[in-house]
């Protein structure tokens, strides 16, 4: 029989087993690493129609987030500002700049600037901005250090586990409510657990909290 099955074939099952195990572990590792919003969403940085720099406006000039995103405290949706908001300053500041041509056109015509939305949770997730920013959850938790970004990119995964990290332990994340837009705030002695108790923060963990 040795002519048909040479001696090395005795090791074949072992080798096949090793190969299968290596393939399986590799596939698992690949899925774990890639099949998550930490890979699919983080880093998304679309080219915007107007080269608006948050680093200049929110960082260097120090405008409050709410100067432009003025609906965030009242609405579930944090609005993109109207062209009129830009023109409050840019009717005078750099008023002839080519980079602002689209803004001026939009202001004159009433047609929207086709900004590209970056942070998009799935349509079956009902995230409410106002309830978060009115209970000491800062913009920075979900959007990252916007005040340092020339071009905004998706900095956090916004996955379900990302939401639940905070919903399970809000005390570790909340801050004094008047500081939600102070993106570089460092917690020095603020007792988040006490605040969660005092403000009666009840971040639900049931499905219907976010999915309706």
């Amino acid at each position: 029989m040795s002519d048909i099955f040479p001696k090395w074939t005795n090791k074949l099952p072992l080798m096949a087993g090793v190969a299968a195990a290596v393939l399986g572990v590799t596939a698992l590792a690949g899925i774990t690493y890639y099949f998550t919003p930490k890979y699919t969403r983080v880093g998304y940085q679309p080219k915007q129609p107007v080269a608006f720099s948050h680093a200049i406006h929110a960082g260097q000039i120090g405008l409050d987030c709410r100067y432009c995103h003025n609906g965030v405290e009242k609405s579930w949706f944090s609005n993109i500002p109207t062209a009129g908001t830009c023109m409050n300053c840019h009717s005078q500041v750099r008023k002839d700049s080519d980079k602002l041509q689209l803004v001026r056109d939009s202001y004159a015509s009433g047609q929207s600037i086709p900004w590209v939305q970056i942070h998009k949770v799935p349509d079956y997730v009902y995230f409410n901005h106002s309830v978060h920013v009115n209970r000491g959850v800062s913009c920075v938790h979900c959007h990252g250090e916007i005040q340092k970004m020339d071009e905004v990119q998706h900095a956090k995964p916004l996955s379900m586990s990302f939401c639940l990290d905070c919903h399970r332990d809000p005390g570790a994340f909340v801050r004094p409510n008047e500081l939600v837009t102070k993106l570089d705030w460092k917690n020095e002695g603020f007792d988040g657990k006490k605040a969660v108790h005092d403000w009666k923060v009840q971040p639900g963990q049931s499905c219907s909290t976010c999915h309706r």
Partner: protein
């Protein structure tokens, strides 16, 4: 076939390198929209705010609609009264605020002022906010006699509708907030122009 494992590991290593080469690492910057691996109901045929509406009813293609002519949004101040317009029944500007001025109103005003007004008018109302470094000209100083003497209703109206080079802030400050900002502008004026005698006796005694 003796070298089965050697071949296998070579191909395995090449495959891993190829996948990482094509797919990249977590967090790397990309212009391409996020991959939705299981796009079950991620994107539903409904309109979200401020998006494009490919919908015959909306000729301008905008999903966020302006109010239909002749209608008002719930909770919007539409009645033409002093609280909503800053004007008296005869059309002249109100002299005083039609709201109760208390510490809460002033604090709210301070917060709103800091967000929406201070960039140009400055934290103390001196007309030297950060934007003036970049070419904003003719920013009003609140300590000028003209504005000290201006009626509360006229300041309210300027906030709501803008004036000269200043744009309108009525979309950012609802009537209650506008009155709160007016109250804080008055605070800034008093902090600079107030006289010692105007401080209540009980408070003055605690000052040095």
């Amino acid at each position: 076939m003796r070298k089965f494992l050697a071949y296998f590991f070579t191909f395995w290593a090449l495959a891993v390198v190829a996948v990482i080469g094509v797919a990249g690492l977590r967090g790397s910057t990309s212009r391409k929209p996020p991959i939705e691996i299981w796009p079950d109901m991620d994107r539903q045929p409904k309109l979200r705010p401020q998006t494009t509406a490919n919908f015959a009813g909306f000729a301008d293609g905008m999903s966020s609609r302006l109010p239909v002519a002749g209608t008002v949004a719930r909770g919007s101040g539409f009645e033409a009264n002093e609280f909503n317009t800053g004007r008296k029944a005869d059309g002249s500007f109100a002299d005083a605020m039609p709201v109760t001025v208390n510490a809460a109103l002033v604090r709210r005003g301070q917060e709103r002022y800091t967000i929406y007004c201070a960039p140009c008018h400055g934290a103390a109302g001196d007309g030297n906010g950060v934007t003036t470094k970049f070419g904003m000209a003719a920013v009003a100083k609140f300590h000028d006699e003209r504005i000290v003497k201006m009626g509360d209703g006229e300041i309210f109206n300027t906030i709501a509708n803008g004036k000269n080079l200043m744009g309108p802030y009525g979309d950012k400050l609802d009537p209650q907030d506008r009155w709160a900002v007016v109250s804080y502008v008055r605070v800034l004026q008093l902090s600079r122009l107030g006289k010692k005698e105007e401080i209540p006796d009980a408070v003055r005694a605690t000052l040095k």
